[in-house]
Structure formats: structure tokens, C-alpha cells
Symmetry: C2
Subunit: 406 residues, 2 copies
Amino acid sequence: MPEKLSGNMLIAQGGGPTAVINSSLVGAVKQAKKYSNIKNIYGSLNGVNGIINENIVDLSGETDGNLDRISRAPASALLSTRDKADEEYCEKIFKVLKAHNIRFFFYIGGNDSSDTLRIVKEFETKEDYKIITVHIPKTVDNDLVLNDHTPGYPSAARFVAEAFVGLDLDNRSLPGVYIAVVMGRHAGFLTAASALARRYTDDGPHLIYLPERKFSEDNFVKDVQENYNRYGRCVIAVSEGIQDESGRLIAAKLTKNIEKDAHGNIQLSGSGSLADALSEHIKDNTDIGRVRSDTFGYLQRSFRTCVSKVDRKEAFEVGRKAVYYAADKNQSGSVTINRVGDYSVEYKLVELEKVAGKTKVMPDEFINDAGNNITEKFVKYLRPMLGADFVSGAARIRAEKIVKKL
Amino acid sequence: MPEKLSGNMLIAQGGGPTAVINSSLVGAVKQAKKYSNIKNIYGSLNGVNGIINENIVDLSGETDGNLDRISRAPASALLSTRDKADEEYCEKIFKVLKAHNIRFFFYIGGNDSSDTLRIVKEFETKEDYKIITVHIPKTVDNDLVLNDHTPGYPSAARFVAEAFVGLDLDNRSLPGVYIAVVMGRHAGFLTAASALARRYTDDGPHLIYLPERKFSEDNFVKDVQENYNRYGRCVIAVSEGIQDESGRLIAAKLTKNIEKDAHGNIQLSGSGSLADALSEHIKDNTDIGRVRSDTFGYLQRSFRTCVSKVDRKEAFEVGRKAVYYAADKNQSGSVTINRVGDYSVEYKLVELEKVAGKTKVMPDEFINDAGNNITEKFVKYLRPMLGADFVSGAARIRAEKIVKKL
């Protein structure tokens, strides 16, 4: 048996934060303390950006008490970055890792993070320095391939479902059309979670529009009018990433100032323009008086009072597993979550390139034929992830009407 | 001692729902079951609108189990209305009440509801029919006079505080300018609640703009730039009701399509335009790259996972007290909450006309001199209402930076 690699470890958090990304951080740090071949436990501030600038902290001395508190805090305790690391960037990363005798490098993030680790790992031969790189999955979009689901998604999904419970009851109290725009550029998983709000058959959301299906403004008006006629109201969940027949983002079509991020993507979150535009479209094309809209924005990935316990536990576990594969097995790769029971999961390590740069979207079996709602299969898929304490909908008054006298 | 009034009771819910308005409903219904002079317990659907249309249900048979579940559901279980009842409308109400032998009429709502009860009560002599009308306070805006605070406000305030905990950590992870628009047309209490998110001195929100102080777009840019220079980021809470020097709503100034509600008020909620406009203003007048904004919208009054236990209990109590005053004391009026300890409250009945049509705003001692933040006195005022389980901010990593090698 070859000798185990020995040296320091470095962990970093990248991309959009989630409500449980710190559980993965703490899971990894606590697990690392168990291995004698892991010396110092370092954390990089602001993701890969902190590596190339050597903004690195020594986490070895953090007390268990403080680690536990941090594991319950939303967002990235080590701070994050939107930097996308290319070859040149990754070479800089490698030189810093080598200079600090870092042999185990963990990056908590989406598929970009997995790609960064893949490129960094490739400098091993050139630099004649052995290194283990392990990707710890995270994304509220739930769009990583080879994963049943991804840490961060169940809590964001629970926020969306909890939000729609309240918003649907609010709309029932004061009826009209209500539209809420949910995060998810390419994958509709988070928007679809709104369906878990329903208890009674007339509960909203009555319509759900996903980026996996083309969005037609005309059909939208028809759908809304039809539901409004049936229920006297209509509650709608819309993904920020909906596109028209030609693949053009509805948000881009209807918004005047288009901003692009460092990855060249059109900025979708942090603006209410899509919701407002869809509202205007309904006002302009129907006689419905009360039309309101909201955009959930950054709330859905940072809200701390409806974190799924299942999600928190799994986030912790993928952090622990990553360190186990690295320190005990000397294996690089991406930790994945696989569903093996109803409900139970197993963790497996897959090659970094199998996850890097790929995007998973909602399978067809989760979307209804009309493309404006989800199926019961999706409900069955999501429900256990929200935690046993999640309850759809709310109780209603059962009393019967009295006889009119006037 | 005069004989106690005896007959049926009717209860209704009006205006914007809250997360605890059903606690008041259930408090009143449960209390009513204790009085032999209250016969049937009726509920009107959609507030006063259900009265004039005789859409009335008999709540007498609701089980305690279902009532308990309803008390925990957000929004108005009896549904609501935006109808503003004038003299003619109130006369219709009176005739329906009389036809159904209703002697006790309870309306859960804001100052408009108190005014409705005042007008209805005035038809007693003309119609030669004795009636007791009691107003049960409710409003997320916290703007009822003669009340230390109003049921619904603490839970909405807790939502805002919880939201800013997560949003500030999110912004700390990926720094920039972040603006969130909070409900509150005339009173800044709900926007001010964002301050309770802070634990560390550099925690956001760094700026808080209230309708009680004139908003200057130039000072806004200066304030944001100053905080951005100091912290490398800036998180801002803005009330939807902010106005310029001439008293014009900033939302109206910057929005093209202005919608007015049944009360002639400009529609503020249900649109992200103010947040987007303030974002654009910062982008246009500074060199700051990342500027994002959200509008909390209807989430803040309907979210069920961060309801304040103090608020839920007080909402229940004001419902009970209203029935006590009506059935036991045969007194009409508005139930008010008075703070008598730190923290303890007492309930008193005041005349309807003292609450009707009046609006309370933030006292000067709660706002800083610059008009862009709140004072410690406000924190002391709000904290106990959020419940003992509310925690400001979140733990941080304490680890120190390692020495750079490259």
C-alpha cells in the first residue's frame, strides 16, 4: 500500500452562497481534525481569489462551539467569489498551494468549482507536486449532474414552498393575480418547489413556468384567464430563466438595461423587472383588476428560519466525506449524493470532469404536458428533502354558510 | 345593574392580512364560547363585504382542534376586503346585523376598521337596536395610535430582521451594494426592524431610510459611497413610502405606471420598481460595480416560519379581551396594547373615534440626526416583541491570517 499523502489542507467556498454551505465547511473541518496526515487546516477568504492573493486563515484553532454556530449561519463564512479560474489562474493557485505545503484542496461550489479543481489537479506533473483536489457540491439551482440533488437546494426549495403557503393564503384573502419570480437560470427545480405549498385542490400556485419549456406570452394570458375564471384568482410561480421560442430570455426581452456578470451571463437576480413586466402584460391583456408581483431575490438562498434539517445534515456529510476520500483514500473527485431509499442517500466520489461544466435540468417526467405545471412525480421527489416537519398548506375554516335573510 | 345584552355575535377580518390575524380570530371565538349571552358565533367572509352580501358562516361548530390549526395559519381565514365602508355602506351593514339578531360585532383590522365600527354604532338610535362594536387591532405597519404596538407588526418585523441577517451575510460573501425595499407607507417601523439583524459593528443594514424623513437622492448617493468606502460594501433598508422634499413619493417619481387603490392611495406593494430605480440611481452616480436590490413584497406579512411567539400570544389576547369587553362589560371601543414592564403589556379599551382614521409614525427619538438610521432606543423598543428566541446576526470565523509566502 502506497504511503498516504501528508501535508496541509485548504478549503474554500465559491459562487452564490446557500443557507447550508457552512455546514459543509464545518463538516470538512471537523473531519479533518481526525486525520494525522492532515497538518494545518487552512481556509481561503473569498474563494479562489483568496488563494492567488494569499488571503488565507488558519482554521485549526477554531473551537468546536464556534464551528457549530458557524455551521448554522447562512451564506459563506469564508466569503465567496465570482472569479472563474482559467488555466493561468489555476497555475497561480497551484503555486500558492505548493508554497504552503497544501496537499489537500477542497472547493465547495457548483460545476465551475469542480472545473477549477480539475484544472488545478492537472498541474501536478508539470510542477512535480502531488495534490488531492475534492469538490464539495453546493447549489440552490440543483443543477449538478450525477447528483440526485445538491446541498443548498432543499433549504431554498423549502423557502419557496413556505413562501407560497403564505402568499397563496394572502391572495385567497384578497383575490387577484399574483406572480412570484423564483431563481434558476437553466433549471426549474427551485421554481417547481412552489408546488409543495398546495394542500387543497384549489390552492396555488395554479401555474408554474419553468426554463425547461418555451414561454409564450399569449399562452400565459390564456392560462391566467382560465384559472382566474375557475378560482376567482390565480397564483403563479415563474422561473427567472424563462425563454421564448427562439431561446431568448423573457427577462432580457422586457428589460431595458441588461447587465452581464463575469461569466458573460445576463444578470437575472437583484431586479424586479421580469415580475413587473409579466404583471403589466396581464394588466394590458385582461380585465383583471388586481395584479401583483414579487421577486424572491436573494432571500431564497439566505433565509435561516426554514432550513431543511435533511439538507443541513447532508451538507455536513458531503463535507466530511470529501475529507475522508482525500485524507484516507488519497482520491480526488467530486462528492455526489445518490438516493438509495425512500428516503435515504449514499455518497459517492466521481471524477471531477464528469461534473465540471455540465448542467442538469428538470427531467420530462417532472413537468406536465401543457408545460405550465409540475407532476406528482416531482412532489414525491422533493417532499422528503424538505424535512419531516414541513407541512403543505394550512387549515381552513369548515363552517357552513347561514341562510340569507335580506 | 342593567341586564347584559344578549344575542348573536359576528366577527370579520379586514385589510391586509398578517401572520397572526387568525390568532385574534380564534382568541375571540374561543372566548365567546364562555358567555351564555353570546348565542351563535358568526363569521363574515371577506370582511364587511360579506356582511352586506350576507356571506356569513356559523363558526359555533368549529372544533377546538381546527381552531388551533387555523390560529397558526397566516393570512385571513375568514378572507378579507379592501372595501372602505362609508355612511351608506354602514347602514347596510347595520340592517344585516339587525336581521340576524347580531348584538356583538367585532372587526379585526387597522384604523379604517375602527372607523367602520364607529359609524355602524351610530345607527343604534335611528334603528332602535342596541349593538356593541369592538375593534381588534391589526396592522404590520404598526401605525395605530394609543397602542405601544399592534399585533402583526412584531412578526413582520421579525421577518424583516431575519431576512436582513441572511441578506447581510450574503452581501458580505459577495460584496457590493444591496438595497431592500420594505412595506410601510407612512410609518417606518417595519423598515426600521432591519436594524435588529446587526450583531457586529460592521454588520448591515448600514443605512435605513424611513418615510418620516425627507429622502434626497443626492444624499443617498453620498451615504452609500461613504459606507462603501468604509466597509467595501453597503446594505440598505428603504421604506416603500419614502418621499422627497416636496412630499412626493419617490416610488411615484420613478415609476411610469401609477396605480391607485380603492382608498385613492398609490399602489406601492406588488412591484419592484422603487428598488430597481434606486439601484439604477447608484449605478448611474457611482463607480460601484455590483448593485443589487430586492423588494420584500407580500412575503413579509404572510411568512409563517418566523412568527414571533410574543406576537402570536398578544394577537390571541386582544381577540379574547375584545369579547370580554363586549359580552361581560357591554362596552364598545378599540382594544389597545400598553407596555407596562420590560417586557409586559396590559390591554385597555379606548373609544373607537380615538383610533379611527389616525396614523402613528416613528417618534423622533427612534431616528438618528442624519435621518439615515435608527437609534438604540428603537432597538430597545422592538427587541422584546420579536421573542426570546430571536438572535441578531450570526457567528463568524475568528481565525487569523497566515503569513504570505509569495
